[in-house]
């Protein structure tokens, strides 16, 4: 399937295009917050105020695409989408001892709210699904789309991801040991040699169809694996490359989910073992960690394949030219691995 348009709200100036002109923002600390636009022109102001953050970011990123492209369905991946609202509702329950509560946060806290909200705003009565599977949510959404396009029941889809950093989920991750005690500038993240990582958020949206003409990039294949014993991961990566008719030397870039967690970054060595010639480019120094982090990687890779490159800097290394195949390898907390193979259209 082919990517025909993208939009991305993230901790980088990706939505307005400054990422490619002025360059990357080097975040510091443990929260890489999304740079949200003012949403003027894409969402009526009255509605923006009433939206939860995930619904707002998903809508803000998707509406410009939906205004331009007719789609037959909407598929999102999200795990922490709506968690701010969800926890506001839980707080009311606990702090008011199950008194009389307003349902707004309950409804907005449902992970399906962004995809349902987009359908509602655009009166789209086609296929609508939300994959909420921790670190594989975005890969699951892509595979759902791949199946639908293959079945020939849809022509064009909006597929994307959205995640938000909420105080509640941040605290849960912190007490569980998945956030760094303290974090310096992003450029130092991968050399930190400490446990935990930094959090990111935002929404990445894609218009996908089966037609190569005019496309940015091709999503050639997607695969997921889960399990605690990943001794043969390098072999699985090789199998994934060869089942797509490629040699491991054909992959130009391994877009790696390295996040600076000293306990689990070693798992990414499997990719380099499988493809020793590929350049390793990290992306969580730009976007932070989130369950759908690979959605932002997919945006980054598609843009690079289309020739859109950020100025070279401490966290934006040069991409090779020509750029034909990029493999996104992401794992989430060591248990769930996703592979997304993106290729040039020609």
């Amino acid at each position: 399937m082919y990517i025909h348009a993208t939009a991305c709200i993230s901790p980088q100036p990706t939505f307005n295009g400054d990422f490619f002109s002025t360059g990357a923002v080097i975040n510091s600390g443990t929260h890489y917050m999304a740079l949200e636009p003012d949403y003027m022109g894409s969402i009526p102001l009255g509605q923006v105020r009433r939206m939860g953050r995930s619904v707002r970011m998903a809508t803000g990123a998707a509406m410009p695409l939906l205004q331009q492209f007719q789609v037959d369905g909407i598929i999102l991946g999200t795990t922490d989408g709506g968690m701010g609202d969800c926890h506001r509702f839980l707080d009311q329950i606990m702090e008011y001892a199950e008194g009389t509560l307003t349902p707004t946060n309950f409804v907005q806290g449902a992970p399906g709210a962004p995809a349902g909200g987009l359908a509602l705003m655009t009166r789209n009565s086609g296929y609508n699904n939300t994959h909420s599977n921790k670190g594989l949510s975005f890969e699951n959404a892509l595979i759902d789309a791949q199946l639908l396009l293959h079945e020939g029941v849809v022509r064009q889809l909006l597929v994307g991801c959205v995640e938000e950093i909420s105080d509640a989920q941040f605290n849960i991750e912190r007490v569980a040991g998945y956030v760094k005690e303290s974090a310096g500038p992003a450029a130092d993240l991968l050399g930190s040699r400490t446990p935990g990582t930094v959090n990111g958020e935002g929404a990445a949206m894609f218009i996908l169809n089966a037609e190569p003409t005019g496309a940015y990039a091709r999503v050639k294949d997607v695969a997921t694996y889960s399990g605690d014993s990943m001794a043969d991961l390098s072999l699985l990566i090789k199998e994934f490359i060869t089942r797509n008719g490629l040699e491991t030397t054909d992959v130009d870039v391994l877009l790696s989910g390295l996040n600076g967690d000293v306990r689990t970054d070693g798992l990414y060595e499997a990719g380099s073992q499988a493809m020793p010639d590929a350049s390793v480019i990290p992306y969580k120094t730009l976007f932070g960690e989130s369950p759908s982090a690979s959605g932002f990687a997919c945006w980054y890779a598609a843009q690079a394949i289309a020739g859109h490159r950020a100025p070279i800097g401490p966290i934006t290394p040069a991409w090779p030219d020509p750029l034909r195949h990029v493999l996104v390898h992401n794992h989430f907390q060591g248990h769930q691995h996703g592979l997304i193979l993106l290729s040039s259209v020609a």
């Binding site: 839980l90 709210a113 349902g116 939300t130 399990g227």
Partner: protein, 397 residues
């Protein structure tokens, strides 16, 4: 193309643990909706719910899990139903953990059933509780996968109350595309402070046991449960017998309101029509409808209106939510099991607590014990917040 068939199923609900126990209570027309004993909410004193008749300790004892750290009730229910499903299908441990075995599960409340622990962890009140890794949607799927050493494709769906219908649909599509050899699909949800208060805030909970499709219906009764089905391609079975096939399915969006459905039943009609198309069936081929039938004003009117639009004359239909309560993300899978039992035994059980028909509509739910029927095709509906509407058709082999 080879049919997608069901080779095993397991269910836990307010009317029993295991398929035989559930069937017995359906035949006896005995609801499981009562005052709950195990859910920690102040509404338990006066609000009837479909609670599984087992404490967490009972479930732990029945499961005998190697690792119990951080396991929630949502996961316990899932393990019970999963175990029954894979046993009936005759899957070996090696087959379950093979890389071509997929798991597609669904939940809404998930680990948030542990409300106090969640609150404490979310406010970083002290060190992490044992449940800190259990809250996120997807945690229960990972837990099942780890428990059974699964390493193939996993997915977790959260489209509210249509979640497990979508899980079943995705499982069938993975098999048809050849992306898996066998798929275990289903969902789980437990009664919780979070959902009781959520639906109460929406003012759609009934203070009496739910009365689906009755003019005097007062809302839904919440329930809990889990159900899993093993799906395979008929061509791969050789000697083994299948129970039924998944012949049609469709997912559409109502695109009308975040938490209620359009009076024109756009999504409902779209899902049912789409499922008939995939199955290659005419409306008159449907012999029985296992409705979403939540017992809310909005759902039951819209669903029955949609059924009349699509099917014309509606065959015997009922809502098993009058037995189990609304099991949320598990509902589509629980009702898949009941739909298949209807096919296997030629039975339709009575919808409970019905008093009088909805004004302006032309059909009433079945209130009799019907037996000896030849049920070839059952339509099962699931609708959820966000306008998510899904229909699945199960057919006799």
């Amino acid at each position: 193309m080879s049919k997608v068939v069901v080779t095993g199923m397991g269910v836990v609900s307010a009317i029993g643990i295991g398929v035989p126990a559930n069937l017995q209570r359906l035949r006896a027309a005995q609801s499981g909706i009562r005052l709950p004993e195990h859910v920690g909410t102040r509404y338990a004193e006066h609000m009837m719910m479909g609670e599984v008749e087992a404490s967490d300790a009972d479930l732990f004892a029945q499961l005998n899990l190697a690792d119990t750290h951080g396991i929630t009730r949502t996961e316990l229910l899932a393990f019970m139903a999963f175990r029954e499903a894979v046993a009936q299908a005759g899957l070996t441990d090696t087959q379950i953990s093979a890389s071509d075995t997929a798991l597609i599960s669904a939940t809404t409340v998930g680990g948030m059933v542990q409300a106090q622990a969640l609150y404490d962890d979310a406010h970083a009140i002290s060190n992490a509780t044992e449940f800190a890794a259990s809250y996120r949607s997807g945690a229960h799927t990972l837990r099942l996968a780890q428990g059974y050493r699964m390493r193939g494709y996993t997915d977790t769906i959260n489209t509210a109350c249509s979640s497990s219908a979508n899980a079943i649909m995705i499982g069938a599509r993975l098999l048809k595309a050849g992306r898996a050899r066998r798929v275990i699909v289903g969902g789980t949800d437990s009664l919780s402070k979070y959902t009781v208060n959520g639906f109460n805030a929406l003012q759609i909970l009934s203070d009496v046991p739910t009365r689906p499709f009755s003019a005097d219906r007062k809302g839904l009764s919440l329930g809990e449960g889990a159900a899993y089905l093993v799906l395979e391609r008929e061509d791969d079975l050789s000697e083994r017998k299948a129970l039924a096939c998944v012949s049609g399915y469709a997912n559409r969006c109502d695109a009308y309101h975040p938490s209620s459905m359009s009076p024109e039943a756009i999504g409902v009609i779209g899902a049912m029509t789409g499922a008939l198309q995939v199955a290659g069936l005419a409306p008159s081929d449907i012999d029985h409808v296992n409705t979403h039938g939540t017992g809310t004003q909005n759902n039951d009117y819209t669903e029955l209106f949609g059924l009349e639009q699509v099917l014309g004359t509606v065959p015997p239909f009922f809502s098993t939510k009058s037995y189990t309560g609304h099991t949320l993300a598990a509902a589509g899978a629980v009702e898949a099991v009941f739909s298949i039992l209807s096919i296997l035994h030629g039975e339709v059980w009575p919808s409970l607590h019905f008093t009088s028909p909805i004004e302006g509509l032309h059909h009433s739910p079945n209130t009799q014990m019907l037996a000896g029927l030849d049920i070839r095709h059952v339509m099962s509906n699931s609708f959820g917040f966000g306008g998510n509407c899904s229909s699945v058709i199960y057919s006799k082999l």
